[in-house]
Subunit: 308 residues, 2 copies
């Protein structure tokens, strides 16, 4: 059994590779919900959906988010009405949010609803939100107010300086159904190449998670989302610096050291393997750019083989 800590695009790609090399039913992905937002009354879970759509081979391959063969009738009409359109929602994608919101309003938990959606989309792995409770990543802007994650990421194109990050609701949140069990029974726990601050950070902020993970450190293998000092996509490099860490595999190792036993870094960073090990983290060097499902499969084999 394998557990994976997952954010959005990078995690989705690694998991897509993983189902090529092992039975999907042996994999549990524990997914960030700090990105979740309510817009137009709809409960949107961007990371859960990116992983789900990617595993369903339905993701838009050009953007890495949203669905292929998507249409935009609702958003076009909403634009004509002067509505909020900075967060673009395709017509088919909207059906996912409608389904989720309705089921939540009927009293179902987010984990239950996620399982139903994953089944409908034909996803074979177990997809588990880190918590069923409200958890919201909030970023304090240097030159502005505190904003929600999607405002930062989408509306402001993460092109603004951040002085602090917090996870609203984390103190009262409980690990979702199946989360601790999946971690406890996993032979390997994979930390997907997701943003350490705002994708993996919220998972650690749920009470009990950091402690639980620290006790499983030898079975935990991370993949660095930073390659040659930069994030492939998104603001991981910038946020690491803003949190006072180096934007490098060494910074990632330092950030993860309390609970990650092994870090896989890209070949481009091979020269830094020693510095990573100096942080007390075992280091493996491998190609980590997942430009195809085959490369993702190869990387996931490396990751799975990293532990005993």
């Amino acid at each position: 059994m394998i557990a994976a800590l997952a954010g959005g695009v990078g995690a989705a790609r690694l998991l897509r590779g993983m189902v090529e090399v092992m039975p999907p039913s042996d994999i549990t992905a524990i997914v960030n919900t700090g990105d979740d937002t309510v817009l137009h009354g709809l409960h949107i879970s961007p990371d859960l959906d990116t992983v789900m759509y990617t595993l369903a081979d339905a993701i838009n391959p050009e953007t890495g988010w949203g669905l292929a063969d998507e249409t935009w009738r609702v958003m076009e009409s909403l634009g004509r009405l002067g509505g909020v359109t900075w967060f673009n929602l395709g017509d088919q994608d909207l059906a996912t949010h409608c389904y989720r919101t309705q089921r939540l309003s009927e009293g179902a938990g987010l984990g239950q609803v996620t399982a139903e959606l994953a089944r409908s989309w034909g996803v074979g792995i177990r997809l588990v939100p880190v918590t069923d409770d409200p958890l919201r990543t909030r970023l304090q802007l240097v030159d502005g107010p505190e904003v929600g994650f999607q405002e930062y990421f989408v509306r402001l194109h993460h092109d603004v300086a951040v002085s602090a990050v917090r996870f609203e609701g984390a103190e009262e949140a409980r690990p979702g159904p199946g989360v601790l069990e999946a971690l406890g029974t996993a032979e390997v726990i994979v930390v997907c190449p997701s943003n350490p601050v705002v994708s993996i950070g919220p998972l650690l902020a749920v009470p009990g998670m950091a402690q639980h993970l620290a006790g499983l450190r030898e079975r935990i293998v991370g993949v660095s989302p930073i390659i040659a000092g930069a994030a492939l996509k998104g603001p991981a490099d910038r946020l690491l610096r803003e949190m006072g860490f180096e934007s490098s595999v060494v910074g990632v190792a330092r950030w993860y050291a309390p609970w990650v036993g092994t870090l896989v870094i890209d070949e481009a960073d091979a020269a830094l393997a020693g510095a990573v090990e100096s942080e007390g983290v075992r280091c493996l060097v491998a190609p980590t750019i997942m430009s195809s499902v085959e490369r993702a499969a190869t990387l996931s084999r490396t990751v799975l083989d990293a532990v005993g």
Copy 2:
């Protein structure tokens, strides 16, 4: 100045005729919100939208609800996900609900949001929800539970026996911004040919409304939604009977007598004019079937001329 008490399709048609014979800006439509529902997290106001779309000449002329040239991508996808699809929402129509829900979540009142939507849709009359407060028509089924209006009307095709109707939230509801002012300044108050029980009923249930209207009785002109004993559309005939009234223009006159001074009945019911007057309601006979905008305009002229 004219005020109109309005439900859905019948009201929309009469108002569409009325804007042909007088300046739209002189008309305030006070619209039922007892049909409102929240589905998929979206706040849906079917009567407000039917009136708005009709006045925008955007209504689907075949169904009388929803938009012309509509597409159904979201609902098709929602069906594949096993979601709730008995209440059909077109893609462009969904944009209206997204806009409304988002604005309400930002703290705007329903009246304010309705004004914004009406402006975007190019509606010239003033469109006012009867209340900004929650008001929900609930029907007790003879052979089943109490259900919300849309469940009764759409999911059950109003093909079930009802023993009682109540308006949840009515006791705490206040007339919406502009409602009492519009009634107070109107030379004529038109009761559109809407369902007396579940379209006009909720307007009367808002505290202050029935009393206020009773004091304006001589200026109030109703159009019977019952023609030759039957409703043109919907369950008005059935519900009148279930509430213990005749399904006829005489039953309508008796139901409305406390506050309606004049009732316009269709030529088909000319023989019942005397019986209507016996209920203490002045009676006018005219063609009331609005099969075209021209006929609706002619009817609205009759209605407007009915008072002094």
